[in-house]
């Protein structure tokens, strides 16, 4: 099977890029430092107590997972938000579009290249993450599920970056707007739910024995990768009710099926949104998309003139 030409070209450019080497170094350096500090603290307490608590191993896992997640949120927009606008700024997009490559193939090639960086970062961090296997507590399957989630979130965040990159001419604008959109998704979605709850509470003030219900607004959080991530990590750490606890702050969701299968549903929704973002992004860079509209319009005109 032949690689996507854009992906292949980006890989070649990445492997020669000093910037990418630095990203890998800094990423693993931060992870290693955190792992060492926690490990040191753990061994220090062992000197006094004489026993190692397996809960501490879980703590290392949680902290490292969150750090990986946070760093990916910071790195991915930087990689994808300049992907298409960078081609425009470099004046290479027209040439690329004049080849046999279809716009969606260009977008997918760019997405693949940013995902390859995510995978590269995840794989290179394995020796550090494997520290947690020394004493057990976390299974390999948990780590695999974590990697799948990180990839899904990378696709989601990456396609948001590509969407802005294809919509705006300048990489700076695209990058700023991508981070702003992510801020909205991470904080804004929570604020929407919170505000709805406060409004609902105010509306129900004075009524006795009434549960405040914000109905479907809670499902806005399904697009929030942070909630999805914390739900999965908490479940792996033994707390299966993390999502329910969050949702129950805004009403009674004990019997809600969506809340029960939150992680899988939110991952599916985020993947579906990613497909939508890719579709919009490819339409944005498709130079002939007006032509299709024109054809439709002219066809409609012909039909209407034929009717009259």
């Amino acid at each position: 099977m032949r690689l996507n030409p854009v992906f292949e070209k980006e890989l070649r450019m990445f492997e020669r890029s000093v910037k990418i080497s630095w990203v890998i170094f800094v990423y693993n350096f931060i992870l290693a430092c955190v792992a060492l500090i926690i490990f040191y603290e753990m061994l220090n307490s062992y000197q006094y107590t004489g026993s190692i608590e397996y809960e501490n191993m879980i703590q290392i896992y949680i902290v490292m997972a969150y750090i990986q997640f946070a760093m990916l949120i910071l790195i991915i927009p930087g990689l994808t938000a300049g992907a298409i606008s960078g081609e425009r700024e470099r004046q290479t997009l027209d040439i690329l579009l004049s080849t046999q490559m279809k716009p969606w193939q260009i977008i997918i090639g760019k997405l693949q290249s940013s995902l390859s960086i995510v995978l590269l970062l995840t794989i290179t961090s394995m020796p550090i993450v494997s520290v947690i296997f020394i004493f057990g507590g976390i299974k390999l399957i948990d780590l695999s599920i974590l990697i799948i989630l990180l990839v899904v979130e990378a696709v989601f965040i990456g396609t948001i970056g590509l969407l802005f990159s294809s919509a705006f001419k300048k990489s700076t604008t695209a990058t700023v707007l991508t981070y702003a959109a992510l801020l909205f998704i991470f904080l804004g979605s929570y604020l929407i739910v919170q505000s709805s709850y406060i409004i609902s509470q105010a509306q129900n003030a004075g009524l006795e024995n009434t549960t405040v219900d914000i109905k479907g607004v809670i499902y806005v959080l399904l697009i929030n990768p942070m909630i999805t991530f914390s739900g999965l990590i908490s479940r792996q750490a033994g707390n299966t009710d993390e999502i329910l606890t969050i949702c129950n702050k805004f009403g009674d969701y004990n019997d809600d099926l969506i809340v029960k299968y939150w992680v899988i549903i939110s991952m599916s929704i985020q993947l579906a949104l990613s497909v939508l973002f890719v579709f919009i992004a490819q339409a944005k860079i498709n130079p002939l998309r007006e032509c299709k509209l024109f054809k439709k319009r002219s066809r409609n005109k012909k039909v209407s003139s034929a009717n009259t």
């Binding site: 070649r12 040439i95 004049s98």
Partner: protein, 310 residues
């Protein structure tokens, strides 16, 4: 043969191209001449599948390629007026990347890239980074890039802009060579002398309309015939003027020492008869010629009275 019929394109209320018609023969080097904003790049982008046309058709081998984008992209190689290159890619990798973007198998692409680098005289730069090449080399590499999929038609938007005379000469040589191989080349340029040397035909465009098109020599003759006749005589000005005045094709006469400038509306044959008449009347004619136009003066002249030609 490439045929463009009734091509139109508007941006909002602004008509960039209006009912543009053109026929280009196979193997011809065709020049697009026009001021900035005339619609040259718009037409070239439509032909390359980078802009949708509002209406019109572009036919290659009796097929409207605007309705078959795959064929359009296979048939046409496009080189934009401004283009960039990728850092961290060598010359050969650059060509192989575009070959793979056209779906060309790697072994075929490798051979083709090698041939093209030979053609554009960059074989010795094969493993150098593209970013480090000079502007002229980048321009030649980009020309090689437009040829990776062996297109029948090349569309080159201002390929010689910013190049030194030597590189322009090299480019001209390469284009003539490609034309000899049967490639149809459409080229736009502001360096009109370059076009005059390279092109067999030209199309003068203004405000999205064709002002004049056809064989470059025929066009120059057509314009030259409106130029004055310049007759240099040896000390016989007073003898020559009455003869000229009596000729029915002569409109105005002005004398400057031994040079007589005559506005003459006759054909070539009438010019010859006038010369014969002067000689038979013992006027010593040193030279007898029409004032010559070059493409630059032709362009300026047409732009000045464009409406006359429309």
């Amino acid at each position: 043969m490439l045929k463009i019929e009734n091509l139109s394109k508007s941006y909002g209320n602004f008509k960039a191209v209006e009912n543009f018609n053109l026929t280009v023969k196979e193997g011809e080097i065709y020049g697009f001449v026009g001021p900035n904003g005339a619609g040259k790049t718009t037409i070239m982008k439509i032909m390359s599948g980078l802009l949708p046309a509002d209406s019109g058709i572009i036919t290659v081998a009796d097929e409207n390629i605007l309705h078959n984008i795959k064929k359009l992209k296979q048939t046409i190689g496009y080189m934009p007026d401004f283009f960039g290159v990728y850092d961290n890619l060598t010359v050969i990798e650059y060509l192989l990347f575009y070959s793979s973007a056209y779906g060309i198998p790697e072994d075929v692409a490798l051979n083709r890239a090698s041939e093209l680098l030979e053609l554009v005289d960059l074989k010795d730069k094969i493993n150098e980074y593209v970013d480090g090449l000079s502007r002229g080399m980048k321009q030649r590499l980009c020309l090689a890039r437009t040829l990776v999929h062996n297109p029948d038609i090349l569309i080159l938007d201002e390929p010689a802009s910013g190049l030194d005379p030597l590189t322009r000469h090299q480019l001209r040589y390469i284009l003539k060579h490609l034309s000899g191989q049967g490639k149809t080349i459409i080229i736009s340029s502001h360096i009109l002398t370059e076009l005059a040397e390279m092109c067999s035909s030209i199309c003068i465009i203004d405000k999205g309309n064709v002002i004049m098109s056809g064989n470059i020599e025929e066009i120059l003759f057509q314009v030259d015939s409106s130029n004055p006749l310049i007759i240099n005589v040896y000390g016989e000005v007073n003898k020559a003027v009455p003869i000229l005045r009596s000729n029915k094709y002569v409109r105005t006469i002005s004398v400057d020492n031994n040079n007589i400038m005559v506005t003459f509306i006759g054909r070539k044959e009438d010019e010859a008869n006038l010369l014969k008449e002067l000689i038979l009347n013992d006027v010593l004619v040193v030279s007898f010629k029409r004032e010559q136009s070059n493409l630059e003066s032709l362009f300026l002249k047409i732009m000045e009275k464009g409406s006359e030609f429309e």
